[in-house]
């Protein structure tokens, strides 16, 4: 269906392993999703779910060795990311696709001014002269809400939130079509988080950028995303529009995530955590990876790997129990 002109990203059957000496970490297993122009998808999951590995794979930045992209196809703006030559790859990174990392403290180079760091990316990708690139860099700073004069300062003179703005300015300097934001606000305070999320949202609306928002915070997803993909043990176990996943929840794990969160409107409500731990990614169970922690699990779940099944035009979930007539988890409305 690559005739869809609006499609910015298409991931098909992506599988990424880390092949260590003694074992293989199955980080990402057979995931597929697409993203249209101007859309934001939230990749949700806990530590070790494979969110960051997925993002790195999209940029072909999975550390190799030990990381290996076992199979799959990634198409970014019509380019097959796994086939293009390295030179073209460098052109695509930064120009078509850019990434913001979690920790703004370590993603800036301490020996260059922030202006120079933004200009560097512009110089490479837009083939502008040094002076023009620097001027444009200062424009970018202004766009993310930092006065132009501060372009001559070094990263250590900026606070955490300001640094994250600089990182965003670098990522957006060449107006990429696709922005990957890996936990962009986890290291920031709540009020600063609100500012940064607001900024990303505004820039997205203005430039029509598509965004992959990687986060563990369902609150951030609710406020910034159009679509959601919930990951568990390297697989997408539920995906759909925001409304689908939040109000018509299907997967027991998604339900577990919601039940683990304190309800701000009902402080007396008891938290219902998911018991146990995420399975060892070097030794995944043959059936559903969530089965050992799932309160709805049945015999079949232990042996049979659930496939993503369509529940409505947009909503898919991977749970075997829905094969039974009338089954539904406690949370969420039923699709008509």
């Amino acid at each position: 269906m690559s005739d869809n002109n609006n499609e910015v990203l298409r991931v098909e059957d992506l599988t990424v392993y880390y092949e260590l000496e003694e074992e293989t970490v199955k980080a990402v297993n057979d995931i597929s999703f697409t993203l249209d122009r101007g859309e934001t998808i939230g990749l949700v999951g806990e530590t070790g779910a494979g969110k960051t590995t997925t993002a790195l794979a999209l940029l072909r930045l999975v550390p190799d060795p030990p990381g290996v992209i076992k199979s799959g196809k990634i198409t970014v703006c019509g380019n097959d990311m796994l086939e293009v030559p390295v030179q073209k790859l460098e052109e695509i990174r930064g120009k078509d696709i850019a990434m913001i990392f979690q920790d703004p403290m370590t993603s800036l180079n301490p020996v260059f001014t922030v202006g120079e760091q933004i200009a560097e990316s512009i110089e490479i990708h837009e083939k502008l002269g040094k002076h023009e690139a620097y001027e444009k860099a200062l424009d970018m700073l202004e766009m993310v809400g930092i006065p132009r004069e501060r372009g001559a300062e070094y990263p250590h003179q900026f606070s955490g939130g300001m640094k994250q703005r600089v990182v965003i300015a670098i990522a957006l300097a060449c107006q990429p079509q696709l922005l990957i934001a890996d936990e962009p606000t986890t290291a920031l305070d709540v009020t600063i988080q609100a500012q940064v999320l607001d900024l990303i949202k505004n820039l997205k609306d203005r430039q029509g950028t598509s965004v992959i928002m990687i986060t563990h915070d369902l609150g951030i997803v609710a406020e910034t995303c159009d679509k959601v993909a919930v990951m568990y043990a390297g697989r997408i176990i539920e995906t759909g529009t925001l409304d689908d996943v939040f109000n018509y929840t299907l997967h027991p794990y998604t339900e577990g995530l919601f039940n683990s969160l304190p309800n701000i409107n009902d402080r007396k409500a008891e938290l219902k955590p998911i018991h146990g731990l995420m399975p060892d990614p070097t030794n995944l169970p043959p059936g559903c990876a969530f089965e050992p922690r799932c309160e709805y699990a049945c015999e079949a779940c232990k042996t049979q790997l659930p496939e993503l099944v369509n529940f409505s035009g947009t909503h898919k979930a991977a749970c075997l129990r829905y094969a039974e007539e009338g089954f539904h988890i406690a949370r969420g409305k039923k699709h008509e």
């Binding site: 880390y18 970490v25 530590t47 070790g48 731990l277 995420m278 060892d280 990614p281 070097t282 030794n283």
Partner: protein
């Protein structure tokens, strides 16, 4: 990151068997071939050094002159040949291990005692005490090691003990620095604060939390410094300031063979190889220890 699933051995109570930290480190080191090779060779050298005076007659085999057998190339009777006085080079090298190792170990022991004490004081107390100790260390280490050792030996006179002191003193700054640096980082860890929160006294905290966690870089440094102390001792002996003749110190053997290097190169080659093998094994062992002693590394 991947979480490692444990497949622990359980005992009767259903508890995992306790394995000490040293046991864990040994378990990790066994997998490191270089380190194990180093360990084996170092053990052999130590064994040789310990047994040399039992197996060899010092007066006869080591320093006794046999002019008839002088300057023989390696043969069945003298496996590594003889020197200009007809002394067996193999015997002298084996016996020489006693000198090299004892100089290395004692010198480093001196450096370790002074260095770790000063470093721990500087690191834990901070402030003016730290400032004084560290500036002295800086001044001390700005003098080249060899020059310092030469000065000490010339001032105190030439003897084995003075050689040990000279080399020991020059190695102090490294130990002060490394100890201070590790104590500084460990001191600011939350588990030290947690120990204060349960009312442990400062000496108890230092002994049961700070030192055990600072130990591994110091152990590694010790191994590596023994190697360089052996080189320093040999260099000083080579210059004629080390262990006096006719004692079979490797450096002085090297220096003695220099005159004959054109015709009888084995006289310099074998003592040189002895130094090289010892130092290399110690370094391999040190590197292996560095990896094995870090509990954060995955096994």
């Amino acid at each position: 990151m991947a979480k490692k699933q444990q497949q622990p051995k359980l005992d009767a109570n259903g508890e995992r068997k306790q394995r000490s930290q040293a046991g864990e480190a040994w378990h990790r080191m066994k997998k490191d071939r270089g380190a194990m090779l180093g360990l084996v060779v170092v053990s052999i050298i130590i064994l040789v050094a310990l047994l040399a005076n039992v197996l060899l007659d010092y007066d006869e085999d080591v320093i006794g002159m046999h002019t008839k057998e002088r300057l023989q190339s390696p043969n069945a009777k003298h496996l590594l040949g003889t020197d200009e006085y007809g002394r067996d080079i193999l015997f002298r090298i084996l016996y020489g291990a006693r000198y090299s190792l004892s100089v290395g170990l004692v010198a480093v022991a001196i450096a370790l005692t002074i260095g770790v004490t000063l470093g721990a004081i500087a690191g834990y107390n901070g402030g003016a005490v730290e400032e004084v100790i560290m500036r002295f260390t800086d001044i001390f280490s700005s003098v080249p090691n060899m020059l310092m050792a030469l000065v000490v030996v010339s001032a105190l006179g030439q003897s084995m003990l003075n050689l040990m002191i000279a080399i020991g003193v020059t190695s102090v700054p490294q130990f002060v620095r490394i100890t201070r640096a590790t104590v500084l980082t460990v001191r600011n860890q939350e588990y030290v604060e947690s120990a204060r929160a349960i009312g442990l006294s400062t000496p108890k905290i230092i002994v049961s939390h700070i030192l055990p966690n600072s130990l591994s870089p110091i152990i590694v440094q010790t191994t590596l410094r023994v190697a360089s102390a052996i080189i320093s001792a040999s260099s000083l002996s080579f210059l004629g300031l080390g262990i006096p003749a006719p004692n079979p110190e490797w450096g002085s053997m090297l220096s003695g063979g220099r005159k004959f290097i054109r015709d009888y190169p084995y006289m310099t080659l074998y003592p040189g190889l002895a130094i090289m093998i010892t130092v290399l094994s110690l370094n391999l062992l040190g590197d292996g220890l560095r990896d094995a002693l870090d509990p954060k590394l995955k096994n």
